[in-house]
């Protein structure tokens, strides 16, 4: 039995310890916002926060997550209570197919939590691990830069703030 924190709640699972966190979150805890894209840590669609850091979870065994604090896209914001990045994603019509966007937003949120005013080059570096097959990169970058500088320390329980741009 492995115990960890998932979007603020303590959860436990008896899935095999080598099961990647992504599949535990999707199949056992039924949170489907984090996506499977490559299974090899190459595309970033499965990105979640573990103790605040953006981590690829399609390879990460849950044995490594015991006692850690995991946040998924569902813990970042909701349609009624958007995180500033999600509001910017809507305002700028960032998504096309949308499949990679949970991972993109989780990477972006971790970047901004770490560096609230990144340069365009900082954004490129931080986001280079997230593939968007539809090619929405220009809008993703614009949305991140639009939000950067705004108050960003997010709290899943607190109401989302308006975008600061």
């Amino acid at each position: 039995m492995i115990e960890f924190k998932l979007n603020g709640a303590i959860v436990s699972t008896d899935d095999a310890p080598d099961t990647p966190l992504l599949w535990v979150v999707r199949d056992t805890f039924k949170l489907k916002g984090s996506k499977f894209g490559c299974g090899a840590g190459l595309c970033g669609a499965c990105t979640m926060h573990i103790d605040g850091a953006a981590i690829r979870t399609c390879l990460l065994p849950i044995s490594r997550v015991a006692g850690r604090d995991v946040t998924t896209i569902e813990g970042l914001g909701t349609p009624e209570n958007l995180h500033p990045l999600q509001a910017a994603w809507h305002e700028l019509s960032v998504p096309q197919c949308g499949y990679c966007q949970s991972g993109q937003i989780m990477s972006a949120a971790a970047l901004l939590a770490d560096n609230p005013s990144p340069s365009a080059a900082d954004v490129d570096t931080a986001m280079a691990g997230n593939i968007c097959r539809c090619g929405c990169y220009g809008r993703i970058k614009e949305a991140i830069l639009q939000v950067s500088g705004a108050a960003l320390a997010y709290d899943a329980a607190a109401p989302a703030q308006e975008t600061g741009a």
């Binding site: 199949d27 349609p79 994603w89 097959r133």
Partner: protein, 733 residues
């Protein structure tokens, strides 16, 4: 329009009265089929197959086309909302089930593709909106004791004497009226939503992880399946020991299916781990003796030979050669490519009590339903198909072997099944953009006119494989023998008589060539082929626009002027080239950066692109792309912009990286480390200029792609003097 009298009851009955509400037969074609595919819920008013208006004023739009990221839900909600007077963002949009009313008017089947959706639905869906608004106004007039011409509408409300009444207030009366079939449409000057920019209506769902993709479906009792397939397409199992896989935790079934061996387990990861324990031995097939070099050799031999079908023959190419001041001949290569949508293929199927329910994001719900019918033996009318958002498609999700697989598995093991492909499955067991070898011999006179254009393409035919893939689903009643015969006839025809149009489309049509010949020679080695974003245009543009650049430079003519000279009979493309040329002239690229130009007409849309590149450490880097597009009225200009941006990135991935190699008949590449996709730090800035020619909308999902590879190749020539005639572009160092 009037309250229906008794004599009309016969019509009503045949149209179907369901529940408390009224269902009036109505379809895009105007000839209603009964019964309608949707039923009224909770007193809802269902005037046609596309709308349900509830007493609480919520309005559901049954979207007939499939959303793969191209923005079709936003676009079609805009068309119907414009005339119904409903803010597109206010609709509750659901994907339509399978029914002829939802056929794509451009195809006569329920498919999404070919950049057809806005063009094909522009008038029909507006008409549906207008007719429904008219019947709501008529109902309101009756209830409010006013004349229809005293009423206005404003975003889901009837306005009467300064008061606002929700549409939902009048649904009971409206349900007793017959809607007109040809209510007047708005003039373009009165558009409130069409040609206006507002956010995509699916952006919030897609930014919050709440948009439901096929892979997110989870139903009670669902088991998970993983399939092991032959590394070489088409090889059957010789032998396999399933005992180790069966002994793995959670595994319930290991069975042979037509494409390989399926492992079923309680959870995905269990199925995936167990499938690794299989060590199947596969039969040998001829493709197993091929590798990239031997394959290329076949193309070269056929290019040198005389075989082929004449696909176009206008004027006299020999006379054109004699009239030429100079001639050029060059050969261009483009490789096999996978679509690699980020969401791997998947499907959920539940078979119970002689009925089936399928969840999968596909470009053809109709074909998906037919395939379940064909491989389960259940009648199509007992098969419900739930389409979902697609995590990318680009043509890939018109080819549904995963639906066949899930049907075979669910039928055999008698459990609800979710089948999920891995990325490796996607790259190695998919359907592919065919590779092409193209040769163009062209002549030019002293005035810069092209005097002759003699083009030949060697490659596979997507059209035949599309028939092979789609006929079994679209016509589940046809026997395999009949289908094989039809596909065989098509294959014989395109090999020996009439070229498959998708094989050579775009190789000459854009220019005023008086003397043209296009020859096509088929070569196939057994890899299944598919539409891939822009189809034939994705490679013919590379040959055509590279050759135009080569000719202009050889003749000492400005490449933009050269294209203007040769598009006198094609004013819309000419205009796009002219505007892009003016933009290009104003550009002042920084030191070390060079510009390249290309233009192409596809899917009824004209696009010109300018690529600004530099060479960094022997590698091509694209800094900026400027795109000029004429797609008629832009239904949502920002979605058009997004499609141009996306097509450019997709085409750039192909231009810089895209390549599949064969080794022993198997695809060598397997995942994003060796089949790379452009990343943010490699992505250029894109500027899109929309030329509003005011015509009805034309395609936007694909036309942005064809010009980008040649624009970059032409810029590379400007930068280095190297003429790169193979994709992906690789500089000689």
């Amino acid at each position: 329009m009037s309250i229906l009298n008794v004599s009309r009851r016969g019509f009503l009955k045949s149209s179907g009265i369901v529940g408390g509400g009224l269902v009036v037969g109505f379809s895009l074609s105007g000839c209603g089929r009964a019964p309608l595919p949707i039923e009224p819920e909770a007193g809802g008013f269902v005037p046609n197959a596309f709308l349900q208006i509830s007493p609480d004023n919520s309005i559901r739009f049954y979207c007939p086309r499939d959303e793969m990221g191209q923005g079709v839900t936003t676009g079609l909600a805009t068309l119907i909302g414009e005339e119904l007077d409903v803010d597109p963002a206010a609709f509750d949009v659901v994907f339509a089930g399978v029914h002829p009313d939802y056929n794509n008017p451009a195809m006569m089947v329920q498919n999404t593709g070919g950049s057809t959706s806005m063009k094909a639905h522009y008038l029909p869906l507006r008409q549906v909106g207008a007719n429904t608004r008219a019947v709501l106004i008529e109902a309101a007039a009756i209830e409010l004791n006013l004349r229809a011409d005293q009423l206005e509408t404003d975003n889901r409300y009837i306005i009467a004497n300064g008061s606002r009444y929700p549409y939902g207030k009048f649904v009971n009366t409206a349900a007793r009226l017959q809607a007109p079939e040809a209510a007047p449409l708005k003039s373009t000057d009165d558009f409130r939503y069409i040609n206006h920019t507002f956010p995509r209506i699916d952006a919030v769902a897609k930014a919050t992880g709440t948009a439901e993709f096929g892979i997110d479906i989870d139903i009670p009792g669902m088991h998970h399946a993983v399939v092991r397939r032959s590394p070489v397409t088409g090889a059957l199992i010789e032998s396999v020991d399933t005992s180790a896989a069966k002994a793995m935790p959670g595994v319930t079934d290991v069975i042979k299916i037509s494409s390989g061996i399926a492992v079923v387990a309680q959870k995905y990861w269990q199925a995936k781990q167990a499938a690794q324990k299989l060590e199947p031995v596969w039969q040998e097939v001829p493709l197993g003796r091929m590798d990239s070099a031997s394959l290329r050799h076949d193309y070269e031999q056929l290019m040198a030979g005389e075989d082929g079908v004449v696909a176009a023959d206008e004027g006299d190419i020999e006379a054109g050669l004699e009239a030429a001041h100079g001639t050029l001949e060059a050969q261009y290569w483009t490789p096999y490519l996978a679509h690699a949508p980020l969401e791997p293929m998947n499907a959920v199927l539940n078979i119970a009590d002689g009925k089936a329910e399928l969840w999968s994001g596909t470009q053809s719900s109709q074909a998906a339903q037919g395939l379940v019918a064909r491989f389960s033996g259940i009648d199509p009318e007992n098969i419900t198909v739930h389409n979902t958002y697609m995590g990318g498609a680009f043509g890939r999700r018109g080819f549904l072997t995963h639906v066949i697989e899930v049907t075979e598995i669910a039928t055999a093991v008698d459990k609800p099944i979710q089948l999920v492909w891995s990325r490796e499955d996607d790259i190695r067991h998919g359907v592919y953009r065919p590779s092409s070898l193209m040769k163009i011999r062209a002549g030019i006179d002293a005035q810069g006119n092209v005097t002759t254009w003699d083009a030949k393409r060697v490659g596979g035919n997507v059209g035949v494989d599309t028939l092979r893939s789609m006929l079994p689903g679209l016509f589940p009643g046809l026997g395999d023998g009949t289908i094989n015969w039809m596909v065989g006839m098509a294959d014989t025809t395109v090999r020996g008589w009439i070229a498959d149009p998708t094989s050579i489309e775009g190789i000459f049509e854009d220019y005023d060539f008086e003397n043209v010949k296009v020859t096509h020679t088929t070569v196939e080695h057994g890899l299944p082929l598919a539409f891939w974003r822009a189809v034939g245009h994705s490679y013919t543009s590379f040959a055509k626009e590279s050759m135009m650049d080569e000719l202009a430079i050889a003749a000492g003519v400005d490449p933009v002027e050269f294209r203007l000279t040769n598009t006198q009979n094609n004013p819309r493309l000419n205009n796009v080239i002219r505007i892009a040329g003016e933009v290009m002239r104003e550009m002042q690229p920084a030191q070390g950066r060079y510009l390249g130009f290309a233009a192409h007409h596809s899917f009824a849309t004209d696009v010109a692109e300018i690529a600004e590149v530099s060479i960094d450490n022997g590698k091509v880097r694209v800094h900026k792309v400027t795109c000029v597009v004429d797609c008629g009225i832009a239904v949502n200009p920002d979605v058009v912009r997004a499609q141009m941006e996306g097509s450019i990135m997709f085409g750039l991935t192909a231009a810089l990286y895209g390549n599949l190699d064969l080794e022993g008949g198997a695809i060598r590449e397997s995942n994003f480390h060796d089949y790379p996709i452009l990343r943010m730090n490699e992505a250029p800035a894109v500027e899109v200029i929309i030329v509003d020619s005011g015509t009805e909308p034309t395609g936007v999902g694909e036309p942005g792609l064809p010009p980008i590879a040649p624009a970059v190749a032409n810029a590379v020539f400007a930068a280095t003097g190297q003429r790169l005639r193979s994709l992906p572009l690789k500089l000689q160092v």
